[in-house]
Amino acid sequence: MSTTNPASPETIRRRILAFISDELVAEDVEIGPEDDLLSGELLDSVAVLRLATFVDETFAIGMKPTDFLVENFQNVRVLTRYVVRATEGRSPAG
């Protein structure tokens, strides 16, 4: 796995929001960083798994089963924070 320079929090946030609105929700649904992703009425378990896979692959996190926690996925703001933490201090060799 090779990594480039870690993305900025702003870039991470934008890419996650774009993925959710392009791939996971209906056309007329607007998603903001504070919107609850785990209300059960926006995303189902398959969509959540796709989101996790997207985040894992895009930012090369190496997500562990124990990372599937409400506090990491509740909204785009905390998900961004999780990605930042998971990629922090990573050496260029990955």
Partner: protein, 527 residues
């Protein structure tokens, strides 16, 4: 034994007034508080004109208001219509229209959905649960009105066992939902069986996973009430995050779990079970789909002190057979659906509805006290599904045609052998492929459509669809999916919609589903 569901609360409140009836997200409601709030809502509904048998819809997410709403509607003499809050507004409107619901119990966070329903010209005259300025000219009463009317005495209402208790909804092949009517008696027959079979007791803590509109929830709430036990209502967030769910099951000391296998597989794969102390857990019940052997075996290994029960049924009959796995940790393959419950008779029949000779495969018919009283407002469907034939004593009795094909094993257990129609299961939800095909056809540029279910390897299925479209319309997989999200629930959405020049057909003109499967490689294979 009470003859109505809402009386279960009085018995529980008498036995354990201060014990927790329900918990959700750290908050709780005692049995005596539940009884008082139930009375408050029932009084409010009666004041709003609800009479015996009037349909009252309940549109709530996972919260402590759910048991209050359920029992309050019933104590007012109403027939409860629990709505899946995950349904798009269009589908909710169809259910309200078909049941003729005139009152709606909801919560402030749903004012947009309720606003959408108002535009659908329904017969709803009153809404409970919104603030007065939340919904235009509608007659609304907030939840605080329920608390103001809370008291020790329920309104005086005449209801008996043969009154409708609730009307549940599932997918129907025409796109109209199937509305399944149960009486207080048929619901209580299930409750009695469940409490006895699993030895439910007052110190049990049952986790509620399923949506309130499913028959799973009748176990989580009503069977718990009969035992004066506690229902722990799981939030969607916990259910979507398996590691959080595992922590919650440990922290809440859950003793009885009832869900679809998918939820247990997620817990196994991402729940970090080896590090959790689940010693309080004593029963795991699962139903709705096949549990993949490899996952079930691992789960049994990880939870050696837990008994596992494979229960079988449908919303129409609730649970009608069950199979308790041997304590040795062995998993027979295929896993039987077991033997008929003590309140049910099972009959395996051929196409002429005559019993199949020893060990043959046929359709399963069920007779017993838990069978629904019928589909609401659909005599034609009732004639197909509820058939009269001689029972063992020679008298004519009513049997429910499950549409499931089963086989009797040598030891007397039944095993599932497929469906007789195009109904499939997606993470435990019943989905009629025709409904998805119809929803696709309703999109303007779609000329033809076909849907099929493909096993996902984890015991569930994913749906794939193919359409023939007007080439000038410029539709894409994504634009079709986004349109479908307005009419179908999330679980019924195809993971793949292939745009094809023509649908493959068999010589008789039917859609060739095998050939179609080969044409739709699946989401993961797309570039």
């Amino acid at each position: 034994m009470p003859v109505t569901l809402h009386r279960l609360v009085d018995d529980a409140a008498m036995r354990r007034p201060d014990a927790e009836a329900a918990r959700c997200d750290g908050a709780s409601l005692s049995w005596s508080d539940l009884a008082r709030r139930r009375n408050g809502l029932a009084r409010l509904l009666v004041d709003l004109g609800v009479g015996r048998g009037d349909r009252v819809a309940v549109l709530l997410g996972k919260s402590l208001e759910v048991p209050t709403a359920f029992y309050g509607v019933l104590a007012a003499g109403g027939a409860l219509v629990p709505i899946d809050p995950k349904s798009p507004v269009e589908q909710i409107a169809r259910i309200l229209r078909a049941t003729g619901a005139t009152r709606l119990v909801t919560e402030p966070g749903r004012r947009n959905a309720v606003g959408g329903l108002l535009d659908a010209e329904l017969e709803i005259s009153h809404v409970v649960g919104l603030e007065p300025d939340d919904a235009r000219s509608m007659n609304v009463a907030p939840w605080s009105a329920v608390d103001q009317l809370a008291s020790d005495r329920p309104p005086s209402v005449d209801v008996d066992g043969l009154d409708t208790s609730y009307i549940l909804h599932t997918s129907g092949s025409t796109g109209e939902p199937k509305l399944i009517r149960h009486t207080h008696a048929s619901a209580l027959a299930f409750v009695e069986w469940a409490v006895e079979e699993y030895g439910l007791r007052a110190d049990d803590r049952l986790s509620n996973h399923s949506s309130h509109h499913t028959c799973f929830a009748t176990f989580d709430f009503y069977a718990a009430a009969r035992a004066a036990a506690t229902t722990v209502i799981l939030t969607p967030a916990a259910m979507l995050m398996p590691a959080s769910l595992a922590q919650l099951v440990e922290r809440e000391r859950i003793t009885v779990w009832y869900s679809v296998p998918t939820a247990l597989v997620q817990l196994l794969l991402r729940g970090d079970l080896a590090d959790r102390d689940l010693s309080a857990l004593r029963w795991v019940l699962f139903a709705g789909e096949t549990f993949p052997d490899k996952h079930l075996k691992r789960l049994l290994d990880l939870l050696p002190g837990v008994r596992f029960s494979h229960v079988y049924g449908s919303t129409e009959v609730n649970v009608c057979t069950c199979y308790h796995l041997p304590g040795s940790g062995e998993v027979p393959s295929p896993l039987p659906i077991g033997r008929p419950c003590s309140n049910a008779e099972a009959l395996v029949v051929d196409e002429a509805l005559e019993p199949v000779a020893g060990g043959g495969t046929g359709e399963l018919l069920i007779r017993g006290s838990t069978v629904m009283s019928g589909y609401w407002g659909d005599p034609a469907l009732n004639r197909q599904a509820l058939v009269r034939r001689p029972a063992s004593g020679g008298l004519e009795e009513t049997y429910f045609r499950t549409g499931d094909r089963v086989r009797t094993l040598d030891d007397g257990n039944l095993t599932f052998a497929g469906r007789a129609d195009h109904q499939v299961k997606v993470r435990g939800y019943r989905v009629e492929l025709e409904e998805i095909e119809g929803a696709l056809l309703a999109i303007e540029p779609v000329h033809e459509s076909a849907a099929l279910a493909v096993p996902d390897g984890d015991g569930s299925s994913t749906i794939r669809a193919a359409v023939v479209v007007d080439p000038a319309a410029g539709v894409t997989h994504k634009s079709l999916l986004k349109r479908l999200q307005k009419t179908l629930p999330l679980y019924a959405l195809p993971s793949e919609i292939g745009i094809v020049d023509s649908l493959p057909r068999t010589p008789t003109g039917k859609v060739d589903r095998k050939a179609l499967a080969a044409m739709l490689p699946g989401h993961g294979d797309r570039s």
